[in-house]
């Protein structure tokens, strides 16, 4: 029957397109997984040979070609600690303000949001220059872990605020109304309902923020420097793992082996921190059932 012909074709096209889409998405998943595996295995095989306990606990020798990375690990954790100590409370507070307290002034909120989005897209080297002039020079903190951590905080904050705000705003309005109608104070609505319900989103924001901070090099070279000594206080200079890897790869001939091992350590730290953050938030969200 000629009349059914076009219909048949469309039907056929549908199933063909459907299959094509399924095929393409499966292929890209496979591709990405393979790339990622390759990356991890590459680092693993090139870096694992150098990974001994002493590598983690001893000081570097000969500009990092030999010895370990103990001071680098300590500096990394200190800089990340300073950054998160600022980011978590300030980020959460600002996110709460933006999502809960700007109902009556949406124009201002929109302006703040747009500024934050712009800031989040500013290249990190610009934050590095800003940090160098404000924290190092103006506030007199010099090349230090404190300057580096605060600069990283400036860089990561816009991103964490927006992530936090989005997850708070995605909590359905009916929970707020329900809790308020039961006589909850605003504080209790926040701590009892909104934050627990938004916690999965908040923790993803935190984990991605930590990832950004750990990956950063450009902003830190200007602010926390690249001294290889073990830091004695937050006002000492110190280099992070990312900076160390960069330095071994670019400036130190014969440093590749230790560079790979350091990269392996960096990945391990990232995985550990993420797992820790996830366990911590899961404990808080334990009672939430979406």
């Amino acid at each position: 029957m000629p009349r059914q012909y076009p219909h048949e074709v469309i039907k056929h096209m549908h199933t063909f397109r459907d299959r094509l889409i399924a095929w393409i998405s499966a292929a890209s998943v496979l591709l990405i997984t393979l790339l990622f595996l390759w990356l991890v295995l590459d680092i693993f095989f090139k870096g694992f040979a150098g990974l001994h306990w002493s590598f983690l606990t001893s000081a570097p020798l000969n500009a990092g070609r030999a010895g370990g990375i103990a001071p680098v690990i300590v500096s990394t954790l200190l800089i990340l600690g300073v950054c998160m100590l600022v980011c978590v409370p300030a980020g959460l507070a600002t996110a709460i303000h933006l999502s809960e307290y700007t109902v009556r002034n949406p124009a201002a909120a929109r302006l703040i949001r747009r500024s934050l989005d712009t800031l989040a897209g500013v290249p990190s080297i610009v934050f590095g220059l800003f940090g160098a002039s404000v924290f190092c020079d103006l506030l007199g903190l010099g090349y230090s872990i404190l300057s580096g951590g605060l600069t990283l905080a400036c860089m990561v904050l816009p991103f964490m605020i927006r992530a936090g705000e989005e997850s708070l705003r995605s909590v359905p309005q009916e929970y707020r109304l329900g809790a308020s109608a039961l006589g909850f104070s605003q504080y209790s609505v926040l701590t009892g309902i909104l934050i627990p319900v938004a916690m999965p989103g908040l923790s993803i924001g935190l984990i991605l923020g930590i990832g950004r901070a750990l990956a950063e090099t450009a902003a830190l070279i200007f602010t926390s420097g690249y001294v290889l000594r073990m830091p004695e206080s937050l006002l000492d200079s110190g280099r992070t793992l990312s900076v160390h890897i960069y330095d071994l790869a670019m400036n130190v001939s014969g440093g590749e082996a230790n560079g790979y091992t350091s990269a392996l350590v960096l990945i391990a730290i990232l995985v550990m921190i993420n797992t820790g953050a996830r366990i911590l938030t899961q404990r808080i969200v334990h009672e939430v059932h979406i």
Binding site: A181, G183, F184, S185, E287, V288, H289, I290
Partner: protein, 288 residues
């Protein structure tokens, strides 16, 4: 402490207090001050300058069911939201006139709103249990209002779940997610959650309209069982529901884009003896 005792007393008073209607006839309305729970005087509600309802005068009788009836969009919810000051949460919402609860103007600047909302519970159109366990849904508001004793909370939990008929259905799974319950069960949990605070008044905004007929009739029976123990103000656009459960009825209508109260009175007057033309045609199914 006082909360749960008061609460138990209330729940243990057996079905509809037969005294209430009798008292009505003995005591003239004007002198029976506590017979009147909420008084609405010349109230108007506007959103950002657009008045959606005005000239509202009515009084809600204690421990009766007052139904606010009318087609959608005529401002029933807006009026209901005034009674526990939920209007505070709505941006650009302004109210004129006064609402008295037990003789006190609730819109005074220093009025204790949290206390008000503890005494005036609210049930929403869409069931809104928190995404926590069934137990936590009741526990959270109790903790919020200072009941620190676990045994006491457990006791209230069982009592209120019993009183909404949910206890046999959920007693074995109090720790499971409230959102796993069916819509009707969720709505009953919300009613239990409100009852846990031992309120005097329950505001219900179309509590059945998001439910299937079966669940809806269970909720309706529950509301009828609560008559005489709580003052209930129920919003509905369902004439038949109003006829089944109302003691007093307020009929709302849209006139020139604004909601207004056409007639307010007891069930008899509105459904049988109304002289108001609009009311009569609405009741006889001619309009609406």
């Amino acid at each position: 402490m006082s909360l749960s005792l008061e609460h138990l007393q209330r729940l243990q008073t057996s079905p509809p207090a037969p005294l209430a209607p009798v008292m009505d006839t003995i005591i003239p309305k004007s002198t029976a001050h506590h017979d009147q729970s909420i008084a609405v005087n010349d109230v108007a509600v506007a959103y950002g300058g657009r008045t959606v309802i005005e000239n509202i005068n009515l009084s809600i009788r204690t421990r009766h069911i007052t139904v606010l009836l009318g087609p959608s969009g005529c401002g029933k919810s807006s009026l209901l939201n005034c009674f526990n000051r939920m209007t505070d949460l709505i941006a650009h919402c302004s109210i004129r006139g006064s609402v008295l609860y037990r003789g006190e103007d609730i819109f005074q600047p220093d009025y204790d709103v949290r206390g008000l909302r503890k005494k005036i519970g609210m049930i929403f159109q869409r069931p809104n249990p928190f995404p926590f366990s069934i137990r936590r849904n009741i526990d959270l508001p109790l903790k919020e209002h200072g009941i620190a004793n676990r045994d006491e909370r457990r006791h209230i939990l069982e009592t209120v779940l019993q009183s909404v008929g949910l206890w046999p259905e959920v007693r074995d799974r109090l720790e499971s997610p409230a959102l796993q319950l069916s819509g009707g069960q969720q709505q009953r949990l919300c009613i239990a959650r409100a009852l846990a605070l031992a309120p005097e008044v329950l505001l219900m905004d179309e509590p059945c309209s998001a439910l299937d007929p079966m669940a809806s009739s269970i909720i309706e029976e529950l509301i009828i069982r609560l008559r005489g123990k709580y003052t209930i103000v129920l919003v509905t656009h369902n004439l038949f529901q109003a006829q089944r459960i109302a003691d007093d009825v307020g009929l709302f209508w849209l006139r020139e884009g604004r909601g207004s109260l056409v007639e307010f009175g007891d069930k008899e007057q509105i459904f049988s003896h109304s002289t108001h033309e609009l009311t009569r045609s609405y009741i006889n199914g001619i309009c609406g």
